[in-house]
C-alpha cells in the first residue's frame, strides 16, 4: 500500500497538470473556435438559406445558393443551364493565379540565387531591397501600376515617343494588367522562401557536379532544384493562394469587367444581393485553397522521406 501511495499521488498530479494545461489553453481554444470556426459556421449556414429581397437572408432552407454556383436559370424561359459566367470567372482566377505563380518563379528563382551567392555581409542589404515594396500600401502600388500602363501612361508614352507604336496599346482593364499587378505584388512572397532554402544550399555540391563534367543545365536540374524544392513549393503556395482570392488588384486593374473569384463574391454581397450564393462561392474558394494546401503538405511530406 505504501508503495502505491506516491504512485496515485503522481497520477493525481499528472491529472491536475493536464487539467491546468487545458485550462491555460482554454482562452486560445475559445478564440480559435470563435474567430475561425464561428464565422465559418455562419457562412455555411447562410449558403443554405434564401436570399432576402434587399440583401441579407430569409431563414428558409434552400439549395439555391449552391445550385447557383454551377447552374443558372434563364429568367425568361426558366431553363437551367451551366453557369458559364461563374465558370469563366473561376477559370480566369485559376489561370491567372497559375500564371502569376509561374512568372514569380521564373523571376524569383534567379533573384534568390543571385542573393544567396553574394557574400554574407551583402545579403541582408539585398533582402532589404526585396522587402521595400511591402512598406507601401497595396492600393497605392496598384494605382502606381495604373499610372504606368494606362493609355496616356508612361509606358505607352515612351513607346510612342520612340515611334514603335502610333496608337496606345490597351493594357488597362485586361487580363494582362491583372497578371502584371499580381506578379509585381506577390514576387517577394516567392523570393523569400526560395532564398531561405538556397541559403542552406551546399555550394560545394555544385562544384563537385562541375568536376564530374555536368553541364550548367544538368547542375540546375539535378543538384540545385532538388535541393531547393521545399522553397519552390512554399513560394508557389504563398503566391498561388492569395492570387486565387485576389480582390483589390483585379478590381482596379481589371476595371470591373474582368472579374476574379474575390470580385464575384463581393458582387453577391453588394449589388447582386444574393448572400447565399456569395456564401457558397466563398466556400468553393475555400475548398480550392484547401486543396492547394493539401498538395503542398503532400509535396513537403514526400520531401522528408
Amino acid at each position: 500500500m505504501a508503495a502505491t501511495q506516491p504512485n496515485t499521488d503522481l497520477v493525481a498530479a499528472n491529472r491536475r497538470e493536464t487539467r491546468n494545461r487545458w485550462l491555460l489553453l482554454l482562452p486560445a481554444i475559445v478564440i480559435l473556435l470563435a474567430a475561425a470556426i464561428g464565422p465559418l459556421i455562419v457562412v455555411v449556414l447562410y449558403s443554405f438559406l434564401v436570399a432576402g429581397d434587399y440583401g441579407g437572408v430569409v431563414w428558409h432552407f434552400s439549395w439555391d445558393g449552391w445550385l447557383g454556383v454551377f447552374t443558372t436559370s434563364d429568367p425568361f424561359d426558366g431553363t437551367l443551364s451551366l453557369a458559364d459566367a461563374h465558370i469563366s470567372i473561376l477559370w480566369r482566377s485559376v489561370k491567372l493565379s497559375a500564371l502569376t505563380t509561374l512568372f514569380c518563379l521564373i523571376l524569383g528563382f534567379p533573384t534568390a540565387y543571385f542573393i544567396a551567392t553574394r557574400p554574407v555581409s551583402q545579403r541582408d542589404g539585398w533582402m532589404l531591397l526585396i522587402t521595400i515594396p511591402f512598406w507601401t500600401n497595396l492600393l497605392i502600388r496598384t494605382f502606381a501600376i495604373m499610372g504606368l500602363i494606362r493609355n496616356e501612361g508612361l509606358v505607352n508614352g515612351f513607346l510612342e515617343w520612340l515611334g514603335i507604336i502610333d496608337q496606345p496599346i490597351q493594357m488597362m482593364f485586361t487580363d494582362f494588367a491583372i497578371l502584371l499587378g499580381m506578379v509585381y505584388v506577390y514576387l517577394p512572397l516567392m523570393v523569400l522562401p526560395l532564398y531561405a532554402s538556397m541559403e542552406r544550399l551546399n555550394f560545394s555540391l555544385i562544384e563537385a557536379a562541375y568536376d564530374l563534367y555536368a553541364t550548367p543545365f544538368r547542375v540546375l536540374r539535378r543538384v540545385i532544384i532538388p535541393a531547393v524544392k521545399p522553397g519552390v513549393v512554399a513560394g508557389s503556395i504563398l503566391v498561388f493562394v492569395p492570387s486565387l482570392g485576389a480582390y483589390v488588384i483585379p478590381r482596379i486593374l481589371g476595371g470591373g469587367t474582368q472579374l476574379m473569384l474575390g470580385n464575384l463574391i463581393e458582387l453577391q454581397f453588394g449589388q447582386a444581393r444574393n448572400w447565399p450564393l456569395g456564401a457558397a462561392l466563398s466556400l468553393t474558394l475555400l475548398v480550392m485553397v484547401t486543396a492547394a494546401l493539401i498538395v503542398y503538405v503532400r509535396a513537403s511530406a514526400n520531401e522528408g522521406e
Partner: protein, 341 residues
C-alpha cells in the same frame, strides 16, 4: 507635485478649445462632400466631423445593415430611401419641422420616396447620361445608343458605371419600356441589348472623373456632376442627355437610427438646407441641390454649365427613377449577373 498639477492644468487649459463639443460621422459617396463646408460646420458648432466614403448604394446599405459602423449621417439615393426606411435603419428626425426646411425647393419638398420629408433632406440631384470625349467621336451624343449600340470610334473605349438601377432604367427606356416595367418581352429585349453591348465596354467601374479626364476611356455612362468635374480637367469632354429617356435621381441626407450623435446630426441636416451651404455642396460636386435661393451663392460656371442645365427640347425625356418591386429587382439582378461574365 504642485508643479506637476500646475502643468497638467495648464496643458488642459491650452488644449481646451481643441476639444470639440462632440463628433459627427458622415458616411457619403466619394468625391461628394465639400471640405470647406465641413470646415464651416465644424467651426460654427465646434464639432469634429469625420467623412467616410462609399461608392455604391449597395455598399452603404450592406455596411450599415451589418451594424457597428459608427456613422451618424448617410446619403442614399432616393430609390433606396424606402428600403432604408422599411428596414428601420433611418431615424425619423422630422427635418420637415426644422428651421431651414422652408428653403427646400417645392419640387423636392414632398418626394415619393419620403412623403412629407419625415426622414431625409435634399443633398443633390442629378441626371444619368453619357460623357463623350469629342476628340474621339463627333456625332450626336444626346442618345443612349452611345452606350448600347456604340459608333465604331467608341467601341472598346466605353465605361459603364455599375450602378444597376441606373443602367437598367436607361436600357428599359432605350428599348421603349416604362420605368420599372414587369413586361417580360421588354425585359428580354433589355437583357439581349445589354449582353450584346457588353463586348464594346472596356470597363464597368466607379470613379470615372479621373479615367475620363486621363483618356483611359473615351465615353461612358455617367452622372452629370461627375461629367462636369471631368470637363474641368479635360475640356474635350461633353455630356449628353439621352433623348430615349434619362433618369433623374436625388441623393438625400438622413440620420441613422443607431446614430450616436443625433443632436449634431440634426444640426447638420438643418445646416445643409441653408442656401449658402447647399451652394457649397453644388460648387464642389457640381450637381443641383434642391434648395431654393442657393443659385445666388453658386460660382458663375455652375449657372451656365451644360451638364446642369437640361436643354428645354430634351427636358421631357427626363424621368424620375423609382423603386421597383422585388420581383422586377430579381429579374434586374439576373440580367445583371449575365453581364459579369
Amino acid at each position: 507635485m504642485k508643479h506637476l498639477i500646475a502643468s497638467v492644468a495648464a496643458v488642459c487649459l491650452l488644449a481646451g478649445p481643441a476639444f470639440a463639443d462632440g463628433n459627427l460621422n458622415i458616411y457619403n459617396w466619394g468625391n461628394y462632400t465639400p471640405p470647406d463646408m465641413i470646415k464651416k460646420f465644424e467651426e460654427k458648432y465646434n464639432v469634429k466631423v469625420t467623412v467616410t466614403d462609399y461608392d455604391s448604394n449597395d455598399t452603404a446599405l450592406a455596411k450599415v445593415e451589418a451594424g457597428g459602423h459608427g456613422f451618424d449621417i448617410v446619403v442614399p439615393a432616393g430609390i433606396y430611401v424606402p428600403i432604408w426606411i422599411e428596414k428601420g435603419l433611418l431615424l425619423e428626425a422630422r427635418p420637415d419641422q426644422m428651421e431651414n426646411f422652408k428653403n427646400v425647393d417645392a419640387k423636392w419638398a414632398n418626394p415619393n420616396f419620403d412623403p412629407g420629408r419625415h426622414y431625409t433632406v435634399p443633398w443633390q440631384w442629378g441626371t444619368v447620361g453619357v460623357s463623350v470625349n469629342r476628340d474621339v467621336y463627333k456625332g450626336d451624343i444626346n442618345t443612349s445608343s452611345i452606350l448600347f449600340n456604340p459608333p465604331d470610334e467608341l467601341k472598346g473605349k466605353i465605361n459603364i458605371v455599375p450602378e444597376m438601377n441606373d443602367v437598367m432604367a436607361l436600357a428599359v427606356h432605350y428599348v421603349g419600356g416604362e420605368t420599372c416595367t414587369n413586361d417580360m418581352t421588354v425585359l428580354k429585349k433589355v437583357r439581349d441589348l445589354l449582353v450584346a453591348a457588353k463586348p464594346n465596354w472596356v470597363s464597368m467601374d466607379y470613379g470615372t472623373v479621373e479615367q475620363l479626364a486621363q483618356g483611359d476611356i473615351a465615353a461612358g455612362m455617367n452622372w452629370n456632376g461627375s461629367s462636369f468635374r471631368s470637363r474641368l480637367i479635360n475640356p474635350k469632354l461633353e455630356y449628353g442627355f439621352p433623348q430615349e429617356g434619362f433618369p433623374i435621381f436625388m441623393d438625400n441626407a438622413a440620420i441613422l437610427a443607431d446614430a450616436a450623435n443625433v443632436d449634431n446630426a440634426k444640426l447638420f441636416l438643418n445646416f445643409i438646407m441653408d442656401p449658402e451651404n447647399a451652394a457649397m455642396i453644388s460648387a464642389y460636386a457640381r450637381y443641383g441641390n434642391g434648395i431654393a435661393g442657393s443659385d445666388k451663392f453658386m460660382p458663375e460656371d455652375m449657372k451656365t454649365a451644360p451638364e446642369v442645365n437640361i436643354p428645354p427640347e430634351l427636358a421631357k425625356a427626363g424621368f424620375a427613377i423609382e423603386t421597383c418591386s422585388p420581383d422586377v429587382m430579381k429579374i434586374y439582378t439576373r440580367i445583371w449577373t449575365d453581364l459579369q461574365k
